[in-house]
Assembly symmetry: C2
Homo-oligomer: 336 residues x 2
């Protein structure tokens, strides 16, 4: 049974269960702060494939395969997979998942896609549209770099506010079975555009969208930040996280005590030259499906908000000097 | 209440209602076979904007505005909009819909996106996740041409199997109110890839996916083609439609008597030099939201299957000589 809560939040009465989850990460990510938490590390950026794009597809396939394996389910039991990525026309997902022969519903919310995919999977499972559904996203530094910015060979100099696209993937399998981790509610995001145009400062572009969704959820559920163990944003990075605190404070909400950001958690910013932090659909997916969900399983985390944020730009709109509209979707996860 | 029917089909017990719908089309489309059915014609390919991409965004905004107007609803009543398009990172949708301030859930299924968006809207309405939801997609010949193929100025010579990207948009508003047209069921598509690599023959690439979804639906519901007034595919065009008949016949199903294709309905192929027919997310959206839904409203059509087909390629994968994986999603529409 699905209930609407307040103006924007969706409540799941039976709390769909996260039955299995898995994360796959690249070499640089394995040298960061979460190295012990990933299920698989891909040391070769081609992962044995001919192109970076194919390598990214293989990350998604691997994450889905591992997530299914970890909960003892088979691909043919899945009634739907919700997936997306940053490549033009979401081809990492299409090519990565085509051989599983699962009903495929492509999602696009830029780096917010993991939360969006979980929202969809939860709605499908709770409503009976699916018995078993999966959400999976990915990003790949080399594929993203040459599509959005410059060929790697160019040796682009990065600005201090720039973020580093994570090579990684994360997958969750949702169903009605027994599990410690459950989806209690979700808030789909509205597009927010305050006029930021600097594609090297996406944290600033995305912070207002994150604030809008978080504050809406708190209003809808009549809760406060201290009700949660963790309010985890997708990839605002250093600049965007500070902006988020400022916007929330103006609305009388202090997020600093319980907030963290996947873009700040994945790398060792002192050592790894990633500037403002990590980004990409694979950033929050691989962080959620490693340290965070393991923390919920072990009981160190019990009640969290996961808010993935997306910058809805393309190389075309950036070249045309357009603003960067952004969106953030929220998932409320609890343990039994 | 949502019921699973057979192996892949989703049945909607309360049959979400299509409360409002609208179509917007370009000049060439207005000179085709459906000129009297579109709600608005955009004669200027820029629609008063600076770029083709902005023009495409304005088509989506206009379709949504008109669909809301036609059912007397306001944007702030919408709990979700499901939207997508063919531009890199779905920017036609993001920029076109950002000023409506509606929870935005971007969909990507290439030219299957309209059926996918309707499927999502129906699941959200039936399950109570939304009281009112919309599905909208678009395509724009000039924006697609320069992104996927060549700059217009190049004067590309087209192959006989090539299709013409429709400049157009269509939108449906779904809810639980009174309406003659209702969504009875839906079948999400699996990705099918039989190895076609010719990006100028997307009908051939998509036909196996269309056949897979249609045959699954017929099996799941234990119905036959003659149970329907119309089995309408998205944009297989001339070549893909023939391939569909062949594949279905091999499975003992004759689709020819009740089948039509949006790509064949929109243009006058004798006069308009569109080769194998129309294509693009805006093709099936504008055909569905003009002649087809008007036919259901007037009673000439009562029971139809709408199957939008998508070729899941990008300019990158085409350049890398990859195959063209395809997908087709099905919506079963009935009148009271």
């Amino acid at each position: 049974m699905i209930n609407r809560i307040g103006s924007r939040t969706i409540g799941f009465e039976n709390r769909p269960a996260i039955l299995g989850y898995a994360s796959v990460a690249g070499k640089k990510e394995s040298e960061g702060l979460l190295s012990n938490f990933f299920d698989r590390i891909i040391y070769d950026e081609y992962n044995g494939k001919e192109t970076f794009e194919e390598a990214e597809s293989s990350l998604q396939a691997e994450a889905l395969r591992l997530a299914l394996e970890k909960c003892g389910r088979h691909a043919n039991e899945l009634n739907a997979v919700f997936a997306g990525d940053l490549l033009n026309q979401c081809t990492a997902s299409c090519f990565g998942l085509k051989d599983f022969h699962i009903p495929f519903l492509g999602q696009y919310g830029a780096c917010s896609t993991m939360a969006q995919s979980l929202l969809m999977a939860a709605v499908f499972v709770e409503s009976g549209a699916a018995n078993l559904a999966a959400g999976v996203t990915s990003s790949h530094f080399c594929a993203a770099q040459r599509q959005y910015r410059f060929p790697l060979e160019y040796g682009e100099v990065r600005t201090p506010t720039a973020q580093w696209t994570v090579t990684g993937s994360g997958c969750c399998v949702l169903g009605r079975g027994e599990s410690k981790i459950r989806v209690a509610a979700a808030t789909p995001g509205k597009i927010v555009d305050l006029g930021v145009t600097d594609a090297n400062n996406m944290g600033a572009a995305m912070a207002p969208a994150a604030a809008d969704t978080i504050l809406s959820f708190l209003r809808d559920t009549q809760t406060v930040p201290s009700d949660y163990d963790l309010i985890l944003t997708g990839d605002l990075g250093l600049v965007g996280s500070r902006n988020l605190y400022d916007i929330a404070r103006q609305e009388g909400v202090d997020l600093r005590q319980v907030h963290n950001d996947c873009g700040l958690m994945i790398y060792d910013r002192e050592r790894q030259d990633v500037h403002a932090g990590g980004s990409g659909c694979g950033c929050c997916a691989s962080v959620l499906c490693s340290k965070i969900l393991r923390g919920m399983e072990s009981g160190t985390l019990r009640n969290i908000l996961f808010i993935a944020t997306g910058a809805l730009l393309s190389a075309t709109t950036a070249g045309q000097k357009k603003t960067i509209p952004s969106v953030a979707h929220l998932i409320h996860l609890t343990t039994n």
